[in-house]
């Protein structure tokens, strides 16, 4: 099955200050997103995430390389009719929510009863059915973001491209949107999710790509990335924490990590010391730890924020 979204060795450079300075936003960037997955797209500010998304949507032209979305070259208007897009810092015309969603639906070739019913359905899906007649200018930023998501969903897209979709949402709305994304995936659609909320990405994404300074630095299944495979965590009782370097004690149990190669000897040592092994599991890293590692940033320097 051909990829839904495909970047092929794409580079993008901007001219700044009347062309005197060139800024490289993306460099030899290649990526394939397969149908039916939720794909997480991560990177610090200025990494090139939004540039990559804007290239896919045809808002920009690449300096080198090419890409395809739903089998069509980037920028093809027919392909966009099968795509839903939510921009970072959503900006919408000021009019009643339902009218606005219908306007965007009509721009995606929906009409008549179907357009009307889809507009209602998506507003209900994002929890704004009671506010459908209110002008979006009077909405909070979180509510506007939900209207933005509704307009992205109105055409029942095969590919949903979301740039920071939950940044302004409260925890309840975030949970709702998370389950909405999972239901979109379960319906066989693809979600391309750029977010700086790593915990969200960890929860919903099947695969993730990490971008740093315009280059792809990590790509893989979320479950595999989180599971290092290099270290095992051993939890034991009846021993002292001081017996093992780096061990910590809590609730009567001692917890420590050892390289896979030393797992057997560590277990034997626990037993030799008269201890009882409670569990042995591969060490799991959080996406945040992996992110900081691959971007070479210290926690205090890390700026997983808007832009990118």
């Amino acid at each position: 099955m051909p990829p839904v979204l495909e970047f092929e060795d794409i580079s993008k450079e901007y001219n700044r200050f009347m062309g005197s300075r060139r800024v490289v936003a993306l460099e030899h960037f290649s990526l394939e997103v397969q149908a039916g997955e939720i794909f997480g797209f991560l990177g610090p500010n200025g990494a090139g995430k939004t540039t990559a998304i804007h290239l896919a949507m045809g808002f920009m032209r690449s300096t080198r390389g090419r890409g395809r979305m739903l089998g069509k070259t980037f920028g093809d208007a027919r392909a966009r009719s099968r795509v839903g897009f939510l921009a970072e810092n959503v900006a919408l015309y000021h009019r009643p929510a339902e009218q606005l969603v219908r306007f965007y639906g009509a721009l995606n070739n929906l009409k008549g009863k179907l357009l009307k019913s889809r507009a209602r359905e998506v507003l209900e899906a994002v929890g704004l059915d009671q506010e459908a007649r209110r002008n979006v200018a009077k909405f909070s930023r979180g509510m506007q973001q939900r209207v933005g998501l509704a307009q992205a969903l109105v055409n029942d897209p095969e590919l949903l491209i979301l740039d920071e979709p939950t940044s302004a949402l409260d925890p309840v709305a975030r949970v709702k949107i998370r389950s909405l994304l999972l239901s979109v995936r379960d319906a066989g659609k693809t979600v391309f999710l750029s977010s700086h909320l790593l915990s969200e990405v960890e929860l919903v994404c099947d695969r993730v790509a990490m971008l740093n300074k315009g280059r792809l630095v990590k790509l893989g299944k979320t479950s595999e990335l989180l599971q290092s495979g290099q270290e095992m965590e051993i939890v034991a009782r009846g021993i002292r924490a001081a017996s093992f370097p780096g061990a910590s004690a809590a609730d009567g149990a001692v917890r420590f990590a050892v390289p896979v190669s030393q797992q057997k000897s560590a277990l034997e040592r626990v037993w030799d010391l008269g201890g009882e092994v409670v569990s042995v599991n591969p060490v799991r890293h959080s996406l945040e730890q992996i992110f900081l590692q691959v971007t070479g940033q210290q926690p205090e320097q890390s700026a997983l924020g808007d832009g990118g």
């Binding site: 901007y14 920009m60 208007a77 027919r78 897009f85 009019r95």
Partner: protein, 236 residues
């Protein structure tokens, strides 16, 4: 066509306040018509009527020069162009919106002018021919300003439009009328500005065809440039 109509109607809706301001001047002319004595103040009324024509052109240029910039600056353009809308359709929608706005204005001006200038040997057909010329001039001027706005900010786009439309008009005064017809926005407006009571106007088919042809060319050129522009970068 549906996309163009949707964008055009959306443009008119977004620009409803400037359009209302524009219309209020026509309203003032209508109010004047209620109270003046046409026999003594006919020339004053005619002067104001001509002035309204100039306002129409000016607004068409301002609408054209700022339309893309406003949508880019507010980032609203992203949601529109993320749909099944081509760049050429987007430009066409904006121009259609400006055409609707200036068409409404010219229609209101025509109705008001016909009523206010009744009984002054100024025929209704004469007024409506002038309004048709005004609409064509507005559309041509707006298309030129949209063309400039695809790669300039609104201030420079307005200045560029003024130069491109003004130079032929000035050249026409120095070198002969042929030069003034090179980009005939001013020539069409001049028909309104130079009109006099008792005059019979023959519709300038040649100028109208030239204006329509140039409008199409400038529109295609604007779309060609806009299709090659990165729209998601800072506009200032």
């Amino acid at each position: 066509m549906r996309h163009i109509a949707l964008i055009a109607i959306n443009f008119v809706r977004e620009q409803r306040w400037p359009i209302l301001v524009l219309m209020s001047w026509v309203g003032l002319l209508a109010i004047m018509g209620l109270f003046i004595n046409l026999r003594t103040a006919r020339d004053d009324v005619l002067f104001i009527f001509k002035q309204l024509g100039v306002y129409g052109i000016a607004f068409a240029v301002f609408f054209g020069a700022s339309a893309i910039h406003n949508d880019r600056k507010t980032r609203r353009i992203l949601a529109v162009l993320s749909k099944s809308v081509g760049r050429r359709q987007y430009i066409s929608g904006l121009l259609a919106g400006i055409l609707i706005a200036t068409g409404m204005y010219s229609f209101a001006m025509g109705v008001t002018g016909t009523w206010v200038l009744r009984g002054s040997h100024f025929s209704a057909s004469h007024i409506w021919l002038l309004m048709a010329c005004l609409v064509l001039a507005c559309l041509l001027a707006a298309t030129v300003s949209v063309l400039f706005s695809t790669f300039m900010n609104p201030l420079f786009a307005t200045l560029g439009t003024a130069v491109l439309l003004g130079v032929p008009a000035l050249a026409g005064r120095q070198l002969g009328s042929w030069w003034a017809h090179a980009i005939p926005a001013y020539s069409l407006l001049e028909l309104l500005l130079e009109t006099a009571v008792g005059e019979t106007l023959r519709f300038p088919w040649g100028l109208a065809a030239l204006a329509a042809g140039e409008t199409i060319l400038f529109w295609l050129f604007a779309a060609w440039i806009f299709e090659r522009r990165d729209i998601a970068v800072a506009v200032d």
